[in-house]
Subunit: 321 residues, 4 copies
């Protein structure tokens, strides 16, 4: 059966680049003679039949905007049988032949469940600042979040240097140390603490004390939220070194803002690819870039714990400090 | 006695614009046939005789840099008789005829004390993101801090809108609500809590609940650090409204970054004015802009609690939401 | 006769801050029990009756956006009797009791003509990056344009320093040297050429040649568009010094972008003040800030050539280089 | 013979990311027990023996700065036998065992010539905003230049939309359409003109005229400098459509600014890899990323015309407009 109408939704935490992804799905879909519906607030909108037909103009002027015009939500109800059935009824009632799901790890768990249970074609587009989708290089939004965090680190560096202080800066990333590692490298930070590597605070404190003796007075230690809280780390550093320590928790600032060129280009590209997949009769996949090439990854594989190659990067940070 | 050699120092918290202020003092001073010494780490450097002669090239390339090349520190020792005496000895030993002190409220308390006790000509240049200097419109660095906080608010807005959430965002400013008010106005925020005005959280919660009924689902409440902690406010909002609330504490990010045009122009202008004051034999003053005109304010007056005209601004925020 | 319905329009070149000004006029107007119509494309929309009633939601989410949601245009027809008559008919037909005109010098010439000829209350809000409105300190949008140009100058500085080159950078401002002067000061530029001061290129070339001898190899000369073209200036510098020269014309980039805190706060403030003026029965005025205070200036005065106090600033740039 | 002392230089046009590349070469080199000399002004410094030993502190605080602390230059003399001989003498006299050359296509032509003629080990690090090095994905600096150009396009969009105008925006890239294509895609531009594809201005004009009829009034056409001048293109569009057209030439702004996270991380990574290559006895290579993996490409191959896969991207831009 040929695809005639598809729907697109954004779920989970918002990420910069969701809007250009929507734009691409809608405009490319229309160019392929599809009708494209926009579902509001993710799975919630599918359950509650909050959706509408989108046209070329519906997605004008959004390419550079953070967030998502379709809004997003976390939706516990979708993990119940009743919720899924109601979502399925919306799909049937609106003659939706396929779904494009824009989101991260959690969104794809739901998508996998839904498309296998009800045999609705589903293609995922990975958008999340946590870079938590397995089998692909990087999620839409990650580059933007990294640059936002880097800009903050650069600013904090001004005070760290001027006042010769130790800062512990907590960045986002849930269970992933990707943002922390990248920002620590690019920001010239003196230490990084990530969930993928056992914490050895003694080493960091040793470096600080030794550095102080030779005149290195300012330090920025980046900690991934999945590896500890800035306040705890700072307190322990102070306990071990007797040096005053300041903390900054970058927080939700990292989730917003106009997407970078990398985040936009990836979003626009994958929007097209996702629609092509649906047209080709594919389902239960996430599309993404891996080593510079477009790949289609089984959702079941994509939702596994992402394997982050960190050792080299981690060592480089240490050497370059 | 004609002024032959002056010294410049930055003290207290760093602020964006300290570097262009230093640049102006040094280059304008030299143009007026003065020698200019740079003191490192504020009063600490005066006590410990850490200072050196600066030339035209010493301040090249710093006009757009945050922080201060002279470094800064808070220095408890300067508030002891012994500390002051040692600082005075440095001044005498190095033939320093006058001091330019770049800093905020606390720095000027120290400067006032020092210049009256030892009869050393001192002129203050107001640089602090807290806008806490009385008798002048705005301190160097405030405009930069406000724009940094505004950029953060704009980013948080993306998530607030996309996820339809309530955010409480804590901004800097110590005892002053200036940053909070300005950012809340310019960011289109739905509420603002400042130390200058009694908190009426019931009103804010009433607005939120009422707004939700008519479809307004996202809120950003700005709180000045001097008026409460984001976490406390958020918890109380959740208690009163049963609505989930997120918090962001912008923190030290607001202190760094390349100074804006306003911060730079003010710094460059006041650097010249401060040197002119010393040459003219003035002392115990802070220079600044008031209603668009250069003024000289007695340090004793400048260190009083700043009178912030807030009522109009506060009301305007409420009306425009 | 009490004011019941007003209209707001943006005319002339767009400026960052027009959107928050519209937001303020609409929301404050509504809070004062007025109906507020938005006219599209400036005077053209009045002539062609392109306008519609705006509500609180019409201006949601625009506070941080450059440009103007009402669009703008230059409209020659409005300077004909017929065009004015048609505009007047739109005003009458739609029961519009007063107009808020957001624009610059040219827009106010038209507004003055229209409100005196047809006795329609008109209040101007000064928004233009050219800072060309007489009797007030600064127009909405100027601070944003200055910061955008400054950011560009900072970037060009990287290449000027790394490649040891001379750059001539042309900035906007029509007949005004305001942007050029401010940017040259804040950017640490080595020369500035403005329409308000006779060009003495020999002096600049002398400085360059002399500087080269003592090792100063990179130069940025800022030229206001009203004082010459970058290419001409560059060619003449090369002719006089035999040194290679590069040019950059910043152009329309300076007109766009999210308004700064200063531009937004001014826009929001003046929107309220303009509405208050109309309610108070005032007309033929522009509202603005002068020396930190709200003023109402006769349109006839506002459209005179702005008197820019430049001598001090010009000299300071020269001394600090 | 073991490598004991290496030298690093930056040549050709400066690019954002050269500084972190220098930092990485110096600090990683030192960690591997090498001495690292910095050569000033590229090949010119080698010819004129302008170089000095660098230490860990020499590269402090430069990770986020645009340009290059070693300065750069284009040097015709290096393409003469005498110039090369003098450069060789500097290498010998200073006991330099290997060279790291940071630059683009032109720099590598010179490096290839030099290292094959005199048997001096040379490894290239690709840094250039033109993305003109064959055999690798992307040069250091390109991502920064693209984001700078994108930011400019976003700002121009504000005016294009508000005034309903056609803009022709010229971006850098020499013979390459990479920046133009990426920016046009990410900026949602309505047309793009690149050297790799024959210009069909009739098509673009047809789109504009047709678009105008259905209410699409604003257009941004991006032109790569290698494919034509903005002014010419604009004139021809006006001739064919009778519509007013504006131009912006972004120019050198694209070459400066703090490097993005992508540019910094690539620079830091490749700095290490280049040093490792020298230690391993390799020469006449450029290091880079290809499809996500580190590769070593023969300089002879790297200096060939880069093969840009553009068809897909070009078509996607057309479809998504």
């Amino acid at each position: 059966m040929a695809m005639k109408r598809i729907a697109v939704l954004t779920t989970g935490g918002d990420a910069p680049g969701m809007n250009p992804a929507i734009r691409s799905v809608v405009r490319y879909g229309i160019s392929q003679k599809l009708e494209v519906m926009g579902v509001f607030r993710g799975w919630w909108g599918l359950i509650n039949e909050e959706l509408k037909l989108l046209n070329h103009r519906s997605v004008s002027g959004i390419i550079g905007q953070g967030g998502t015009i379709l809004k997003t939500a976390r939706c516990a109800e979708f993990f119940t049988d009743e919720g899924q059935l109601r979502a399925f009824n919306t799909v049937k009632k609106n003659n939706i032949d396929g779904l494009v799901v824009i989101g991260g790890n959690g969104s794809f768990k739901a998508a996998h469940l839904f498309c296998t249970k009800y045999n609705i074609p589903c293609i995922g587009i990975p958008a999340s600042i946590d870079n938590d989708v397995n089998g692909i290089d990087v999620t839409i939004g990650t580059d933007t979040a990294v640059n936002t965090a880097l800009d903050a680190i650069d600013k904090i560096r001004d005070t760290a240097t001027s006042m010769e202080r130790i800062f512990v800066v907590e960045v986002m990333g849930r269970d992933s140390g990707y943002i922390a590692l990248t920002v620590a490298l690019a920001g010239g930070c003196e230490g990084v603490i990530i969930p993928e590597k056992e914490l050895n605070l003694e080493d960091i404190c040793h470096d600080i004390v030794h550095g102080n003796l030779v005149g290195k007075m300012s330090w920025i230690i980046v900690v991934a939220e999945g590896a500890g809280r800035a306040d705890d780390i700072a307190k322990r550093i102070t306990d071990m070194t007797s040096l005053e320590t300041r903390t900054v928790v970058l927080g939700h600032v990292q989730r917003g803002g106009s997407p970078t060129a990398v985040s936009r280009a990836l979003a626009l590209d994958l929007g097209k690819v996702a629609v092509d997949c649906l047209i080709a009769g594919k389902t239960d996949k996430v599309v993404g870039l891996s080593c510079g090439k477009i790949v289609e990854v089984d959702l079941e594989h994509a939702i596994q714990k992402k394997d982050l190659r960190i050792v080299d990067l981690y060592n480089l940070i240490k050497i370059l400090t």
